[in-house]
């Protein structure tokens, strides 16, 4: 038996993504972002959030975040973060650091297990997840997601971490079919599956749409089944400047360029705030179409170089 012929697609056009995000995510809502650090971040969709002018967002992600979170903060979209580590790995995130130090951003003190435990609890449909691995750290005492509990079997003292149910999840993967079956080709998929199972609405950008039969041919490789996905949108290089392996690598120079601008702005260097605003105006607001964004980001030649780097790993 093949699939019903008149089945509805979950594919939407890139131009429709903004409207869908607008419906799913209000000011002040909890937004979840997939990927980790500089890999698999749904950057095109994140830029859409900035273009929509969302304010006071709460952010959660897999436990390591960097560029996209910093950009959202620099663009003024974020009020609170539930992010264990916020770093560009070889340097700090300037907008994050600056906003916390200025008191304009509440960076909640959370760790990987409270975030993963919270997403797992939501995915499991239970109100909390037990955690028993926080000895000695100051983090749990300051973590707003955490409460002490006792094991009903052993009497041992441990913690409960609260279920986390994001209003909207934005994810990026390499492939999907038009029905919303998503397939990561990357080796590392981090918390993307958990986030998809935990969130109320899930939108996934993919570098390419593949025929449904290619998905059915290898069902165990479907990383996020269609039942968890509300929409897929084909956006080539949709993760740039983060990497989408094995298709294209991380554009470190682009991220570095942004970080230099944002760090100068944080330090109050003359004119630096304007230069950062110009970057956001050009890269985000003036480039609603991915083709325009890619052209500004170095065009086909730059993308080819990132593809070549990914191919030689």
């Amino acid at each position: 038996m093949s699939a019903p012929a008149n089945r509805r697609e979950k594919r939407i056009a890139a131009e429709e993504a903004g409207a869908l995000i607008a419906r799913a995510l209000a000011d002040g809502d909890l937004l979840a972002i997939g990927g980790l650090f500089k890999q698999g971040r749904p950057m095109a969709l994140v830029r859409e959030v900035i273009r929509l002018g969302r304010r006071d967002l709460k952010l959660v992600s897999s436990p390591g975040s960097g560029f996209d979170v910093d950009l959202l903060i620099a663009a003024g979209c974020v009020a609170e973060t539930f992010l264990p580590a916020v770093t560009l790995e070889d340097r700090m995130c300037p907008a994050f650091r600056g906003a916390v130090e200025a008191g304009t951003l509440t960076a909640h003190c959370v760790d990987a297990l409270s975030i993963i435990g919270g997403l797992l609890a939501a995915a499991n449909g239970v109100p909390f997840q037990p955690v028993a691995a926080w000895k000695g750290s100051d983090v749990p005492a300051h973590n707003p997601l955490v409460a002490p509990i006792q094991c009903p079997f052993t009497g041992a003292a441990l913690y409960a971490t609260r279920a986390i149910r994001p209003k909207l999840a934005l994810l990026h993967a390499q492939e999907a079919d038009v029905y919303g079956n998503v397939r990561h080709l990357a080796t590392m998929t981090y918390a993307d599956q958990l986030i998809a199972r935990a969130a109320e609405t899930v939108i996934v950008s993919v570098d390419r749409i593949v025929p449904p039969d290619e998905i059915v041919a290898r069902p165990r490789e479907t990383s996020i089944p269609c039942i968890y996905v509300d929409a897929v949108v084909e956006i080539p290089y949709g993760a740039h400047p983060t990497g989408s392996f094995p298709l294209y690598s991380i554009d470190e120079a682009h991220i570095e360029h942004y970080a230099d601008l944002a760090e100068a702005a944080r330090r109050g260097v003359d004119g630096a705030r304007d230069r950062l605003a110009d970057y956001i105006a050009a890269q985000v607001h003036a480039s609603p179409r991915q083709e325009d964004y890619i052209a500004r980001a170095g065009g086909a030649a730059r993308m080819r170089a990132l593809e070549d780097e990914a191919a030689t790993l």
Binding site: A112, A132, K135, A310
Partner: protein, 254 residues
Amino acid sequence: MSLDCTPAELQAVYLSRDLEDGELGAAGASAAIPMAAILLARLTHAPNLQIAGEMFVNPRPRRLWNSMLDDRALGACEASETFLELFGHSHRGLDFFFHNGMQVDARGNINLHFVGGTLERPKMRGPGAANISYAAMSKRFYICTTVHSPRTFVEKVDFVTSPGFLDGPESMKAAGLKGGPRFCITPLAVMDFDPATLRMRLKSVHAWSSIEEVAAKTGFALGIPSDVPITPPPTARELELLRGTVDPEGLLRS
């Protein structure tokens, strides 16, 4: 014996020697030196060392990268996991893990959250830490920093992101902690912990530094034993494997 190596190379080689065959461990973000140590150990004396606990199993990178946490740094690997499995590893702990720190104190406690002010309104906000559990739950960990300064090495951290030996033996007992940092290696020296007080003390000084320099650049009263040897340099074979196979592009030399 070769002295012609960078601090980072010496750190990697020294760490590699302490990893045992058959053990299981990993490093997290910004971990070029630990990754080099692990890969080198597998080539020298620990072919059954398993690299796992951070969402991949036994990566085979063609070169070193700064992170262990993206596909670039894996090259290839035997299996991939997700944060779901990391949740379990974090509770069971590894044989060894590596930490760096914005602040490291006299008892090996690590701070990545803030310096000065309060957590809510810090003078300087750090990146935070993804996984705070491997320090407490693993059999041991290593502190490996790329700087050695009085700002980094302080008497008492402003915030315990990941516990070292807390306030010493009593507080370790109260917190139910075993394990802890085995030693700390910086670009200048190796420091371990006095078993009685669990305070940091000088173990060896790298050939290019001195007891005086280390003491001056440490922001607390570092224990100085009467006999402080020079940190043993890499052997020719270690350097050959490190440069020829583990780090052919010379990330640790730059």
